[in-house]
């Protein structure tokens, strides 16, 4: 809302500087957006929150100033002199949709002379950046900006049948607005019509046909109340935002309608001449009496933490326009003014008192009670995961929760359901809630490849959203990783992570043939026998989909499982004081034998003496090992808790293991 300094002065004395005024207004609810001089005036832009439509006019702002500086407020009486016959003999108003238009008033002035506005009026509108058109149109804008109630003036001669009908539009009905655009109306649009056609979109915009022009002599002044939602829907539907619709989307003063109509008539008579028909056509239910609100003085301290003397509380409320109906040592009862629909409860009055009294009176050094806070297991594990990933050389990425629908099917291991989608895309084509973080990370990888960045090692911790048949979707937190190194290196990263968070729980892998992975280079991971996630080399096809040039290894881990397997408090184990003995084994086996089989036998054979089993390398050579064979080089480190292991004992264990490997897997030590 832009305010003119000169205009404001009309209603309240301004014994302060612009800075003093705007500082004080900012701290009492009208936040300063900025001000600048316009001619000999100053345009002050203040932000009006949606609960304060009373401040969408100069009078409302003047009232705030009068309360804050304790100055008198001068409100124009708005008493136009009627001369002609009764307005009800000249025109009629029928409201067919009182749900959309609870009140409609009309006044008629005949014999006006359209011309330019006087300088003072034109200047004030210009300060506000409002276009100056002619005296009548300018006056209706002026009154709206004075009191906040929008008005419309029709060229009365052009109203077919000389009547107003407020109704819902007929499906497909056409309407030409004053901007000369023709709109096809939806059936629920509230329109102002004459005997034949729609002449205005209620509360939003007038029509071209009945617009006030140079030749207009007779006017019908509309001042009405329209349903907020109806105005908002019309505005949105046609993208027609106007100062009028902006106000009607809020709760305006129901008792201000007639004042605005009278004030408009008064100014037109003064500035454009003419004769005002007697009386007013006022269609609408009588307004219900406003409710009284009780404020217990104790509540002030209970909510604000400061005491404000009762007298001050009562004065603030009265100054704001509340009518005091009761006051005692305990409480005050008031009827809030009609323009303050936001004041209906005790807490509303507490806020009024607080903002006028000043929030700077509230101390910032209260003795707030001390309590212990706790960190959830999940919170602690997530920190461990992040720290581990960072320590292992990965940068943390953050990507959008919604993705292009095609990306969902690219990798969809956690659900087979169609993705949840948003009505409007969250960003560009991203309207599907993701079921895996990996497509987003591949896109981030491509961004970096495009920028010629090397070392694109990324991880992200975020949710995926799996549809369910009832209730909220299944939201699961995942760790997604993308790397440019090798399958085994990324597997090592996950092993370190699992050992960091959930030591002692077995991590196992088995081949997985998801088409997202290169054939034979994908794996399903389990932790303690439960599905932990997936790991693999991204297939050529998927790389092409994301336009990735270089080899990409990815993994996705279900952090819910990791959290439940986490060991948050570690227990110390007794360490053996005796020296370890190490033995290397170079085992030749058939190609089909997997390390997991070898490992299983070695662990079983060594029993609890095995301190460490280290795989070193695989080797293949048809020449040296024979066709279909490979060798696995690994070492075992043995240590006893009860005494020094002798070489003989170590050799014996080694022999047992070798024998078992021979029997179970056909493995032989390499000669």
């Amino acid at each position: 809302m832009i305010v003119s300094w000169n205009w404001l002065k009309e209603y309240v004395a301004l014994p302060m500087t612009v800075e003093q005024l705007t500082d004080r207004l900012t701290l009492s609810g009208l936040n300063l957006e900025g001000f600048l001089p316009v001619g000999d005036d100053v345009a002050i832009d203040v932000e009006v929150t949606s609960n304060r439509p009373d401040c969408l006019g100069h009078l409302g702002i003047a009232r705030e100033v009068s309360v804050l500086w304790e100055r008198a407020l001068k409100i124009p009486a708005a008493k136009p002199q009627a001369m002609g016959s009764e307005v009800s003999q000249i025109t009629s108003v029928t409201v067919e949709c009182p749900d959309l238009c609870p009140r409609y008033t009309a006044r008629v002035i005949r014999g006006v002379k359209i011309g330019p506005s006087p300088k003072w009026l034109a200047d004030r509108l210009r300060t506000l950046g409002i276009g100056v058109i002619n005296n009548v149109v300018d006056i209706s804008n002026y009154v709206m900006l004075e009191c906040g109630q929008p008005l419309h003036t029709f060229d009365f001669a052009k109203l077919a049948g000389k009547k107003i009908i407020v109704r819902r539009a007929r499906a497909g009905e056409k309407f030409e607005a004053i901007n000369h655009q023709v709109y096809e109306l939806a059936a629920d649009t509230c329109v102002i019509a004459d005997a034949e056609r729609a002449v205005a979109l209620a509360g939003v915009m007038g029509g071209a046909d009945t617009e006030v022009s140079e030749t207009t002599t007779d006017l019908l002044i509309e001042a009405a109340a329209f349903a907020q939602l109806s105005v908002r829907n019309t505005t949105r539907h046609f993208n027609l935002h106007s100062p009028s619709s902006y106000r009607f989307e809020r709760v305006l003063d129901p008792e201000g309608v007639d004042w605005a109509s009278r004030r408009c008539a008064e100014l037109i008579l003064e500035l454009a001449g003419g004769q005002l028909a007697a009386g007013v056509i006022d269609v609408g239910q009588a307004l219900p009496p406003r409710n009284q609100v009780k404020l217990r003085f104790k509540q002030i301290e209970r909510i604000l933490g400061i005491r404000i003397v009762d007298e001050r509380v009562r004065n603030i409320l009265t100054a704001l326009g509340c009518e005091e109906t009761h006051a005692c040592g305990e409480c005050v009862k008031v009827v809030p003014p009609s323009w303050r629909a936001d004041l209906s409860r005790e807490i509303d009055l507490v806020e009024e008192v607080a903002r006028i009294h000043g929030y700077d009176e509230i101390p910032e050094d209260a003795g707030v009670k001390m309590v212990a806070s706790t960190r959830t297991a999940e919170d602690r594990v997530l920190d461990q995961v992040r720290d581990s990933m960072v320590a292992q050389g990965f940068d943390e990425a953050m990507t959008l929760s919604a993705v292009d629908k095609e990306w969902v099917a690219t990798f969809q291991p956690w659900s087979s359901a169609e993705p949840l989608t948003t009505g409007t895309p969250v960003l560009r084509r991203a309207n599907s809630l993701r079921q895996s973080l990996l497509p987003s990370l591949l896109a981030a990888r491509r961004t970096n490849e495009t920028l010629s960045n090397s070392d694109i090692e990324l991880f992200e911790i975020a949710n995926v959203y799996l549809p369910t048949t009832a209730g909220l979707p299944d939201q699961r937190r995942m760790l997604g990783i993308t790397s440019g190194h090798s399958f085994l290196e990324l597997k090592g990263v996950i092993e370190v992570l699992a050992a960091t968070v959930a030591p002692g729980t077995e991590l196992s892998a088995r081949a997985d043939d998801a088409p997202f992975f290169e054939s034979g280079q994908g794996a399903e991971l389990k932790l303690g026998g439960k599905l932990l996630g997936y790991l693999g080399v991204v297939s050529q096809a998927a790389r092409e989909q994301f336009e990735l040039r270089s080899d990409t290894i990815v993994a996705e881990i279900d952090l819910g499982l990791l959290v439940s397997a986490a060991v948050l408090v570690r227990r110390a184990k007794e360490l053996s004081p005796y020296p370890p003995v190490a033995r290397d084994l170079n085992l030749v086996v058939d190609e089909k034998v997997r390390w997991a089989d070898v490992e299983h036998i070695v662990r079983w054979g060594c029993g609890e003496l095995l301190e460490r089993l280290t795989f070193q390398e695989e080797y293949r050579s048809t020449e040296k090992l024979g066709p279909g064979k490979k060798s696995m080089l690994f070492s075992i480190q043995l240590r006893s808790k009860t005494g020094t292991l002798t070489n003989e004992e170590a050799d014996k264990i080694r022999e047992t293991v070798v024998k078992s490997l021979g029997i179970e897997l056909g493995g032989q030590l390499r000669a």
Partner: protein
């Protein structure tokens, strides 16, 4: 042999060895000295050790202890001499060009938003607030109704929210509470906590929220919020101001004294509602007020919606935009950089 004699022999051996090892000038001399004193068969130490046998059993522990001390002394004299010679010998190792670059191990970087959230959580934790999270896809009850946002409120406009549908319309589930939407604020979590917990409640809720803003330098349709909530008997706005001051002092304060300013505002779920500013001094020493976020006393309607009695308890709530604080602190000028994931950007933090 008497104990005294044995000890005297040991002492003179120690002194002799120390002098000898100090005197050696090359590896040959060092090896000779080693054999002389520490030789396994005929070294002087070995010789003296034999004397241990002739000490009386009662005196043996004392003699043994001293022997071990001297042995350690001689060995360390040898080690010192060895170290001295190896470092003094120029041809024994190539010298390093110490100005060559080191070989760093790759370390990763936490996203700046994570770092901001971490320190906010950590400070609020010290102030007694427990961090909670909740669903990002919400129903209208938690996102609006319970938060005192009625159907007519502009925030309910479908164009102001990301409502969900499904790609292929499944048959509508009977009794499904939908429609669902991406939450537009983390206050939803506060409602969920209050619905399932009796007061006192002292939490911060945080996470991703979504609003249909066109992406530009200062807007992104997804961002992070952190919201605090304290509901108990006797909670006042002075408590709110004090907690915010302590938070800001911890987060930004440094040596400057931080003050908090409230400006009236309007939010459906709090009343009174305020915008929170803290005093701020930039690198050039310009002082001013920095907008931190919104706050207020929990609206009685919200307390009632979760089954609390507003006559029994009061509460305050506040919300901060994580991106805004993060960007200001790190000098990030375009919010989109936070979600582009350019590793050159990420590696700065």
């Amino acid at each position: 042999m008497a104990l005294a004699d044995f000890l005297a022999t040991l002492d003179s051996l120690a002194q002799e060895a120390e002098t000898a090892f100090l005197a050696v000038g090359d590896v040959v001399a060092l090896e000779n000295a080693r054999v002389d004193f520490l030789g396994a068969k005929a070294g002087k130490l070995r010789q003296v050790q034999k004397g241990l046998g002739s000490v009386t059993p009662a005196e043996k522990p004392a003699a043994g202890m001293r022997f071990n001390e001297v042995k350690n002394l001689v060995e360390s004299a040898f080690a010192t001499a060895q170290a001295r010679l190896s470092s003094a010998t120029p041809e024994s190792r190539e010298s390093v060009d110490v100005t060559l670059p080191g070989k760093p191990r790759r370390v990763g970087h936490l996203h700046p938003i994570t770092q901001t959230i971490r320190s906010m959580k950590e400070i609020m934790g010290r102030l007694g607030f427990t961090a909670v999270e909740g669903p990002e896809i919400e129903d209208e009850w938690h996102n609006f109704e319970a938060l005192n946002i009625p159907l007519v409120h502009p925030a309910r406009d479908p164009l102001e929210n990301f409502y969900l549908g499904v790609a292929k319309d499944p048959p509508a589930e009977a009794g499904s509470p939908g429609p669902f939407l991406l939450r537009s604020q983390t206050s939803t979590v506060q409602i969920r906590v209050m619905e399932s917990t009796l007061p006192p409640v002292r939490i911060i809720s945080l996470g991703r929220v979504y609003r249909p803003d066109t992406a530009d330098a200062t807007h992104y349709p997804m961002f992070h919020q952190i919201e605090g909530l304290l509901v108990d008997r006797g909670v006042t706005m002075a408590d709110l101001k004090s907690v915010l001051r302590m938070f800001c002092q911890s987060y930004f304060g440094g040596e400057d004294e931080v003050h908090i300013r409230f400006r009236p505002s309007f939010f459906p779920f709090t009343e009174p509602s305020v915008e929170v500013d803290m005093n701020w001094r930039d690198a050039q020493g310009n002082a001013g007020w920095m907008e931190m976020g919104g706050a207020g006393m929990v609206d009685p309607n919200v307390l009632r919606a979760v089954g609390y009695d507003p006559e029994e308890v009061t509460g305050f709530a506040f919300g901060l935009g994580v991106e805004r604080v993060c960007m200001r602190q790190h000098g990030i000028t375009d919010i989109r950089a936070l979600y582009q994931n350019d590793v050159r950007f990420l590696e700065q933090f």
